[in-house]
């Protein structure tokens, strides 16, 4: 399969290698702070011949020799026209100036604002951090993951649930990349906030379908988050004092225009605020609950051909009291090297390390009896990626990735009152995922562009360790152990191969509209084990093994894109169908914690999801924003569950309507609002109860899962930002953000559950559980200089 792809490529290459051409390449930067600009359109004036900058701001454009004008255009920036005399390859680095806010009356004729029509991207959304900053947020804290939940095709099981669901995929099916390194748990405080500090983020891109070959490892979406490089022109400080936490980021050049850094940190202070009011005798004395994170990045532009980056993230959530403690955290480190071999060949090599761990402990007051549990997953990876800008019609991407998983399911330390101690350590689990890919974006006809590629992934489940083999049994009961086998270090226990074809087509009907279609197959070699409504920080990932097959998803989608009024309005309609194999489910009463036989508790089933997404976005003007509506269905089929029939998945929502608008009233005042309407999620309700040992136990005599649906979810949020009058001589800017979340105080149900009334064992009742049961006002003060 791979060979055939290569041969085809070589043929195409030869065919198109004729004319006398020259190549212009270089980097595009923001004139104000030297940040690389991602996705800037670079094209030959009055033509369809063009390209766009990659994630590092690099572009390469090959044109026939002669005099020409190259246009550099990017939303929010002034378009630059650069006349070139193309008689040989040349490097042109450009800095773009931001469009002034008071230039409303000047019509910026960036002919190329129709990027959404022309580009291969479909089923994807790019969010500018400036745009995210304007969305009214819970407790006034701007959050990337919550902003993404306003996009079509993205849902969540409810407030406080960590992660997000894309087109019927589970939360573990999203590849969240922070500067190319995967983030395993993107949540702080269970799921109310994400770990990404908005002050350190430059660019956010979500890809839901037509996923290019360079991405792999998760089946539903890619959330590609790029951190700022740090201001390479001057010292700049951003900060904020919020209701729940405070932020500070510092960025500055070390060598002007060559080397710069950014350091950004956040810490919550609920505990510090509460402390003075807690009496020394109170039950919550000695309890702690806080989170913090630190993001740092440094880059060094050695010369026009070489740039290196080092970035890291460290964050932790801590909860506890004198008798128990509970914390979890991520640490990631990335080293990258950008190298330009020549005007046409660009390389980025990333290596990264990531470690996700958590701890839970209990002890007696005196500490003489104690129990401590820790678990972690460590990841090492190297990933060279190449882009070869063959000519104006072909852009070839190829690369490799190798990733080692080193996973400790549990380690427990127990102390006894007689002073003795013991440790119980589970065996480590190892997996090695390797992949190679190649793709070509080719202009087949003047109006038809195709991006075709193949990713080939291989996974080895390896020793040192014991592999357990289970016998089949009655569906939906734990599998009995058949035998176990020991494997030596590095010895392969099980291997899986998956060819993952990718295809995307774009047919441009005219300057205003296009039709796009895509197909992709994705493979995923680890899945999150979680049978709770919202995933908990204690949930662990588990690797594909001799018992667990890799998750495979096939997705096809078709979309129509149309712009109106000089690209003022972007609209799109897309339909998708996704089919998933080996999706994880759990046997009844599954024991997923500290269980060496956790694999005997898992069942793999089928999943299918389909839907239609509508999107209207107004890009320009004082009033801007978007409306999205998704009609969808997500179902599962698992042997032994719900009488062996398809059932709705926990995050199935028939209707999803999201509206986000923003209005600039004056230079100082800006207001914004969100409105969200979501169908209720499915739920399993009992139809009777039984009494055993005086406990009232709910019982569903039909055995059907998700047989009811809870009430719909709707919410309005509003926000206002006031920019203080600025002293023209100083750079210091101050903003006050007022926001109200859940304005009309609706108690949206997260779930409806059934319980025995306390104090009377005969009385049972249905309870609506709302995570946020009232409106939440917040005030945040932000500054920068």
């Amino acid at each position: 399969m791979k060979k055939i792809g290569f041969i085809i490529l070589v043929c195409i290459t030869n065919l198109l290698f004729a004319q006398e051409n020259a190549t212009v390449s270089g980097y595009l930067k923001d004139a104000k702070n030297g940040e690389a600009l991602i996705g800037v359109t670079v094209y030959k004036k009055h033509s369809q011949v063009g390209t766009s900058t990659n994630a590092y701001g690099f572009y390469s454009l090959t044109l026939p020799r002669g005099n020409d004008t190259i246009m550099y255009s990017f939303i929010g920036y002034k378009t630059i026209q650069n006349p070139v005399n193309l008689n040989g390859n040349q490097t042109v680095n450009i800095e773009l100036q931001e469009e002034g806010k008071d230039l409303d009356e000047v019509i910026v004729s960036s002919e190329k604002a129709d990027v959404n029509i022309q580009s291969m991207d479909m089923s994807s959304a790019k969010l500018d951090i400036k745009q995210i900053n304007k969305i009214p947020a819970l407790l006034g804290e701007v959050d990337i993951v919550r902003a993404i939940q306003l996009l079509p095709g993205v849902t969540t099981v409810g407030e406080g649930a960590s992660g997000f669901n894309v087109r019927g995929g589970n939360i573990d099916q999203n590849l969240i990349l922070l500067d190319e390194a995967p983030v395993y748990n993107s949540s702080h405080l269970f799921g109310f906030f994400s770990v990404f500090n908005p002050d350190a983020v430059k660019d956010v891109k979500l890809i839901k379908g037509g996923i290019p070959a360079q991405y792999g490892g998760r089946v539903s979406s890619i959330l590609d988050i790029r951190m700022k490089e740090g201001n390479s022109k001057r010292l700049s400080v951003n900060g904020g004092l919020g209701t729940i936490f405070s932020r500070l980021s510092i960025e500055a050049p070390i060598i002007k225009n060559k080397m710069s850094f950014i350091v950004a940190g956040r810490r919550s202070y609920i505990d510090a605020l509460v402390k003075p009011f807690v009496k020394s005798t109170s039950a919550i004395k000695g309890s702690q609950f806080y989170f913090y994170d630190l993001t740092a990045k440094i880059n060094y532009r050695i010369n026009d051909k070489n740039t290196v980056f080092a970035s890291g993230y460290f964050g932790k959530d801590v909860f506890g009291a004198s008798v128990f403690g509970f914390n979890w955290g991520n640490a990631t480190g990335t080293l990258r090297w950008n190298h330009v071999f020549n005007n046409k060949l660009f390389m980025n090599v990333s290596t990264f390390y990531s470690n996700y761990k958590y701890l839970l402990d209990f002890k007696t007051n005196s500490g003489d009896q104690a129990f401590k549990w820790t678990s972690n997953i460590v990841n090492y990876s190297i990933k060279p990626d190449f882009t070869y800008y063959l000519n104006s019609k072909n852009t070839i991407r190829f690369g490799l990735q190798s990733m080692l998983y080193d996973f400790s399911p549990y380690k427990t330390d127990i102390s006894f009152n007689d002073g003795t101690k013991t440790s119980l350590i589970s065996e480590k689990r190892y997996g090695l995922e390797s992949s190679a890919y190649i793709s070509n974006e080719q202009k087949l006809l003047p109006r038809l562009t195709a991006e075709y590629g193949l990713r080939f992934s291989m996974y080895n489940y390896m020793g040192k360790g014991t592999a357990y083999y289970y016998r089949d049994t009655t569906p939906n009961t734990p599998l009995p152990l058949d035998h176990e086998q020991k494997y030596a270090k590095g010895q392969v226990i099980k291997t899986y191969y998956t060819p993952e074809p990718r295809l995307a087509l774009n047919y441009v009907i005219n300057a205003k509209s296009s039709v796009k279609a895509s197909y992709n197959r994705m493979a995923q070699y680890l899945q999150l084990i979680s049978n709770t409504a919202a995933s908990t920080p204690l949930d662990v990932y588990t690797l594909a093994s001799n018992n667990l097959k890799p998750l495979i998803a096939d997705q096809g989608s078709v979309g129509y894109f149309r712009n109106f009024k000089e690209n003022m309005f972007e609209t799109s309609v897309e339909v998708y169908y996704k089919y998933m194999q080996h999706q994880m489910d759990y046997v009844d009463n599954a024991d997923l914690f500290i269980n060496p036989h956790v694999e005997s508790q898992l069942i793999q089933g089928l999943g299918r999801a389909y839907g239609m997404e509508f999107y209207v976005k107004k890009n320009k003007g004082k009033l801007n924003g978007w409306i999205s509506y998704t009609l969808s269905r997500t179902e599962r089929l698992v042997r032994g569950i719900s009488n062996d029939k398809w059932f709705f998945s926990r995050y199935d929502r028939t209707h999803c309507l999201n509206t986000s608008v923003n209005y600039d009233i004056t230079k100082r005042w800006n207001i914004s609002a969100n409105f969200v309407f979501l169908s209720g999620t499915p739920a399993t309700f009992p139809n009777s109860k039984i009494q055993i040992q005086n406990y009232n136990i709910p019982y569903n005599t039909t055995g059907t899962r998700n047989n009811y649906r809870i009430t719909s979810y709707n919410r309005l949020d509003i926000g206002a930002t006031y920019a203080f009058k600025k002293n023209e001589k100083r750079r210091y800017k101050q903003f006050l953000v007022i926001s109200v979340y859940n304005v009309y105080d609706r108690r949206n149900a997260f779930s409806i559950y059934f319980r025995t009334k306390s104090g009377d064992p005969n009385q049972t009742e249905a309870v609506r559980y709302s995570v946020i049961g009232s409106f939440v006002p917040a005030l945040t003060y932000n500054f920068n200089f």
Binding site: T532, N589, Y695, T701, T764, V771
Partner: protein, 296 residues
């Protein structure tokens, strides 16, 4: 262990957000009729009770109707001794031990037969292990047991701590610990205290055998006692499937909040003949050790 995690997670959330719960009206379908057999027999020298009821509408707030007129017989298959349980009221069938009776003998297999309207329902179980307790001690409560339930009291309170040891052989043991204050059982679903090999259910392999019981099990639900209160603890040595039944029931009884699991029906070890009205429920025979202490 699962429940302990849940309580911890929930406590954390309460601090942070004003999550709220309110009782709502929900229209539920009516389920088909089932017989419910509640048969927990043990080695204590008290009257042994097996209860037979039917399932009821979920929101019905009366005691479930008892099923009278059934023939309830417990048989020790090792010595073929039969224990006939007699109906008293409210679905209760009682057997009063005579001075020579010993129930829950080690390594004996017991079968239960319940005949209702000519249909015979059956089940069987083994009593394998002996339970033991070393001692119970009383600790002064310094108020730092943050999530122990119960309000703050003005007078000094105490906590009871259990000392017990798991059996020293390689076999996995399952325990159900019941705690009483002045002969009143702490019987809330949240008070179900279960563990495997003494380690809170954490470790299921042989490595935990013969260890002392550890927290949180030994903290007996963080219950508070005052001076002159009596704390009594029973350690029931149960079968692994009975342990699973309890953990499953506990999850289902109060399955709310952010970290609720998908509701499921509790398992049963009662066998229903084909085509007859289904009987569900649980049959268990347990060895029990008990100790008590008075707070002074």
């Amino acid at each position: 262990m699962k429940t302990v995690f849940k309580i911890v997670l929930f406590s954390c959330l309460v601090f942070v957000f004003s999550s709220c719960e309110d009782v709502v009206q929900v229209k539920l379908d009516e389920g088909s009729k089932l017989y419910v057999i509640d048969a927990f027999v043990n080695s204590l020298r008290t009257d042994q009770v097996i209860r037979i009821t039917t399932n009821t509408n979920y929101f019905s707030n009366t005691t479930p109707p008892g099923v009278p007129g059934a023939a309830v017989v417990l048989t020790d298959l090792n010595n073929n001794r039969q224990y006939v349980f007699n109906y008293t009221s409210n679905g209760n069938y009682v057997y009063s031990l005579s001075a020579t009776d010993t129930l829950a003998r080690i390594n004996h297999t017991y079968s239960l037969s319940v005949t209702i309207d000519g249909t015979s329902y059956s089940s069987s179980t083994i009593q394998k292990r002996l339970a033991s307790i070393d001692s119970i001690s009383v600790n002064l409560n310094d108020g730092s047991f943050a999530f122990g339930g119960g309000g703050k009291t003005k007078d000094t309170t105490f906590l009871c701590v259990l000392f017990a040891k798991d059996k020293s052989d390689a076999q996995t043991d399952y325990y159900w610990i019941r705690t009483y204050r002045n002969d009143t059982l702490f019987g809330d679903p949240a008070d179900l205290n279960l563990n495997i090999d003494g380690t809170g259910g954490a470790i299921t392999d042989a490595s935990a055998d013969s260890l002392d019981f550890t927290p949180p099990s030994t903290l007996l639900g963080f219950k508070k006692y005052r001076r002159h209160d009596r704390c009594r603890v029973e350690v029931h040595s149960i079968m692994s499937n009975t342990y699973n039944f309890f953990t499953q029931a506990q999850t289902q009884i109060n399955n709310g909040g952010l970290f609720a699991t998908t509701p499921e029906n509790v398992k049963t070890n009662i066998i229903t003949p084909n085509g007859k009205t289904k009987a569900i429920g649980w049959f268990s025979v347990a060895s029990v050790a008990t100790k008590s202490i008075q707070v002074r």
